[in-house]
């Protein structure tokens, strides 16, 4: 009986939300899936926080195929959801086209790029290289073997962008540092392959790495696990992953997707669109995580050095080269 009532409730809620949604927001996750403990999960956390604060509700979908990107956008827009928040750069292109058909609906994309931004689209980008620079400094200072590792997800420019900032930071803290960089794969499964992440971490450890930064979505779980098992340090990404292995995760490179999603949903239909929003260190869109799980690992000296670099980057005295500038990295060859 409880089952029936529950189902009927769901169906009723469904009918309501599908029929006359009073501008509830919707959230479309990228292919990696909702609970990747990283990028998409950060978006989910932001949406959940918004729902708790306001008592509002939202609908979300984990897409399964490329063609569903357009489908989900259109179906949500037609059902009256507003704003529609999407994560991942891969949806940006189709979003730019679909948005033109629904001028009254506002669309948000995290990480995307469009040559021309339609009036009802907001593109949110993060300065990942700045945050990665800071964790790169921490890694180099924490390393005793003068060797640090980087494990990326799928080998695409965005991930090289992470690795490039990391390498520059590591080199800045210790010019003699050696950086080992590996990518998990060339297909989207590279975002969710903890076993491969674990193997790569072992390979890097055997080459002497004692701090490994994983920028690989769900694959990073395996990297962090192996680092903890082998008693070396790791660095998490996107969400604060320090808690996963307390005392063994040096820090996490925070990319506050949750804040971006939360703010977009909070602004609702009043959201300012038609532009790019770039979130860097100054806006606290990126940064490094310091909490009770890793405070013993970060010495005062390290903290002072990183905070100084952070201030210098914000003031424009220190320039972290972006991989996108000329598709190459001054500190690392991929």
């Amino acid at each position: 009986m409880t089952f029936m009532t529950k189902t009927l409730g769901t169906v009723a809620a469904l009918a309501l939300s599908a029929g006359a949604a009073l501008a509830d927001p919707a959230l479309i996750y990228d292919l990696g899936g909702k609970f990747d403990k990283s990028f998409n999960e950060a978006a989910y956390n932001g949406a959940e926080r918004w729902a708790q604060e306001t008592g509002g509700s939202y609908r979300d979908i984990e897409i399964q195929s490329e063609a569903q990107r357009e489908q989900a956008l259109r179906r949500f827009a037609e059902a009256g959801f507003n704003p529609i928040v999407t994560t991942g750069f891969a949806i940006a292109d189709i979003l730019g086209q679909v948005a033109l058909d629904y001028p009254d609906t506002k669309f948000v994309n995290v990480d995307g790029f469009l040559p021309e931004v339609p009036d009802n689209v907001l593109l949110i980008n993060f300065q990942e290289h700045q945050g990665s620079y800071l964790v790169g400094m921490l890694a180099a200072m924490a390393s005793e073997t003068d060797t640090v590792g980087f494990i990326g997800g799928m080998d695409i420019p965005l991930i090289r962008h992470f690795g490039c900032g990391y390498a520059q930071g590591a080199k800045a803290a210790n010019p003699d540092i050696e950086i080992i960089a590996n990518m998990t794969g060339t297909t989207p499964t590279a975002w969710n392959d903890p076993v491969k992440g674990s193997e790569l971490a072992k390979a890097q450890i055997s080459q002497g790495a004692d701090v490994i930064y994983a920028a690989a979505g769900g694959t990073g779980i395996g990297v962090l696990q192996t680092a903890a098992d082998e008693d070396i340090l790791s660095i998490g990404v996107d969400s604060n992953q320090n808690y996963l292995h307390p005392g063994q995760v040096l820090t996490s490179m925070l990319k506050r997707v949750d804040v971006a999603v939360h703010d977009a949903m909070a602004a609702g239909t009043d959201l300012e669109t038609g532009k790019y929003m770039t979130l860097g260190l100054a806006e606290e869109g990126v940064g490094y995580a310091l909490d009770e799980h890793n405070e013993a690992l970060i010495t005062d000296e390290m903290k002072a050095a990183v905070d100084e670099a952070r201030q210098q980057i914000i003031d424009g005295e220190l320039n972290v080269v972006s991989y996108y500038e000329n598709d190459s990295c001054p500190a690392l060859n991929f």
């Binding site: 089952f3 529950k6 189902t7 769901t10 169906v11 469904l14 599908a18 292919l31 899936g33 979908i61 984990e62 897409i63 399964q64 195929s65 490329e66 063609a67 569903q68 357009e70 489908q71 989900a72 259109r74 179906r75 949500f76 750069f89 891969a90 940006a92 292109d93 058909d101 990480d111 995307g112 790029f113 040559p115 799928m154 080998d155 695409i156 420019p157 965005l158 060339t186 297909t187 989207p188 996108y324």
Partner: protein, 365 residues
């Protein structure tokens, strides 16, 4: 006669398999606290009751027809081509090169040449495993699956380093020019008053898929080459004795098979995305195996099986959109259908055959 009639083999066995899979899926949905009847209604409603739903169903169907035919042709030569995925990826590269670098005056001309390029690239990718199988005896299953990964790596390299427009983060090519956009069902069937197939990706490629079905039927059952392929599939020694070169048949069958997989790229790359993306095939190459198994490697069967899987894909998307059934479970449902129709085929066939034989004995007495 110790076999059941052909119609029972072709109709009853798949039907029983689907029903079994559906019952098991319903159980799984019940177990997570959702209503299976409601879920099924949503799937049917989303996939078959609206023209835009049909647009998606037929779009997926088109993909599965091509990959299903790809596997079916290889099956006739008793080869297991599981490289449809990679062959379709490389076919996509052919389509992208043709569409991006040649200024076509009209989509119809572009379509002809894109079709040729897709087929040629897909066939070329299948040629290497075919050659290795024919000349060196390297097993086609191993080589074709490895070639899937090589294809992914090649495509990634080309997209990231060569074809990606400056500034873009997405590993994808630029959009194809307006002139090569294929007419979608929306363009073709909408009247001034009513928009049909609104926003859905089904396009003119669907008709090419149907043509491909006819062509494969003609090839396998009406040409000398088709006869040689089937004969080779039944007995290599007999074929050798009859003076047919096994090397030639292996290579030709795989070329046709790879070419058919490559054709899938017209649908995804030219018809839907209108640019080449990294993940254009998304598993259709593997679904093709299930489609060919279920369709008994016959074009009509392949068409019907592809339609079923198209329905499952689109219906699954509807479930993801409007219920809280997690997407992993939708994959489970699709996998159950594959399991029952493909792998557990004999589980249904054998009891059914026994029933038929029992009846026949009764009749003979």
């Amino acid at each position: 006669m110790d076999r059941m009639p052909a119609w029972a083999d072709a109709v009853l066995v798949p039907l029983f398999s689907i029903v079994l899979a559906a019952i098991l899926s319903a159980g799984v949905i019940l177990a997570i606290g959702e209503n299976p009847v409601e879920a099924f209604r949503l799937m049917v409603d989303g996939a078959l009751m609206r023209s835009s739903g049909w647009g998606y169903t037929l779009y997926y169907t088109t993909n599965f027809i091509f990959t299903g035919l790809c596997v079916a042709v290889a099956f006739h030569a008793r080869m297991f081509n599981i490289g449809g995925e990679g062959q379709a990826m490389i076919g996509g590269l052919g389509v992208a090169l043709v569409c991006l670098f040649i200024p076509w005056p009209h989509w119809s001309i572009a379509l002809v040449f894109a079709t040729l390029a897709a087929g040629a690239f897909g066939a070329a990718w299948a040629w290497i495993p075919a050659y290795l199988q024919a000349k060196r005896g390297s097993h086609i299953v191993i080589t074709t699956i490895m070639f899937n990964f090589i294809a992914a790596a090649v495509l990634n390299y080309v997209l990231v380093n060569v074809l990606r427009p400056a500034g873009a983060q997405d590993p994808a090519t630029a959009r194809f020019p307006e002139a090569v956009h294929l007419p979608t069902f929306q363009d073709m069937f909408s009247t001034a008053e009513t928009a049909m197939f609104r926003g859905s990706p089904a396009n003119v490629t669907f008709f090419i898929a149907i043509l491909a079905c006819v062509a494969v039927w003609l090839l396998i059952w009406r040409t000398r080459l088709g006869y040689e392929i089937r004969a080779f599939g039944h007995s290599e020694t007999a074929v050798r004795y009859a003076g047919i070169s096994p090397v030639r048949i292996t290579v030709l069958a795989m070329l046709i098979s790879g070419g058919l997989a490559g054709l899938m790229a017209i649908n995804t790359t030219m018809g839907e995305a209108e640019r080449l993306v990294m993940n254009a095939t998304e598993g259709a190459g593997f679904i093709g195996i299930a489609v060919a198994l279920m369709g008994r490697s016959h074009p009509v069967g392949v068409f019907l099986a592809a339609l079923l899987f198209g329905f499952l894909y689109q219906g699954g998307a509807e479930l993801a959109l409007w219920t809280n059934i997690p997407r992993e479970l939708i994959t489970v449902i699709q996998a159950l259908v594959i399991l029952f129709t493909g792998a557990l085929d004999n589980m249904v066939r054998m009891p059914l055959e026994r029933v038929f034989l029992a009846f026949r004995k009764e009749g003979a007495r």
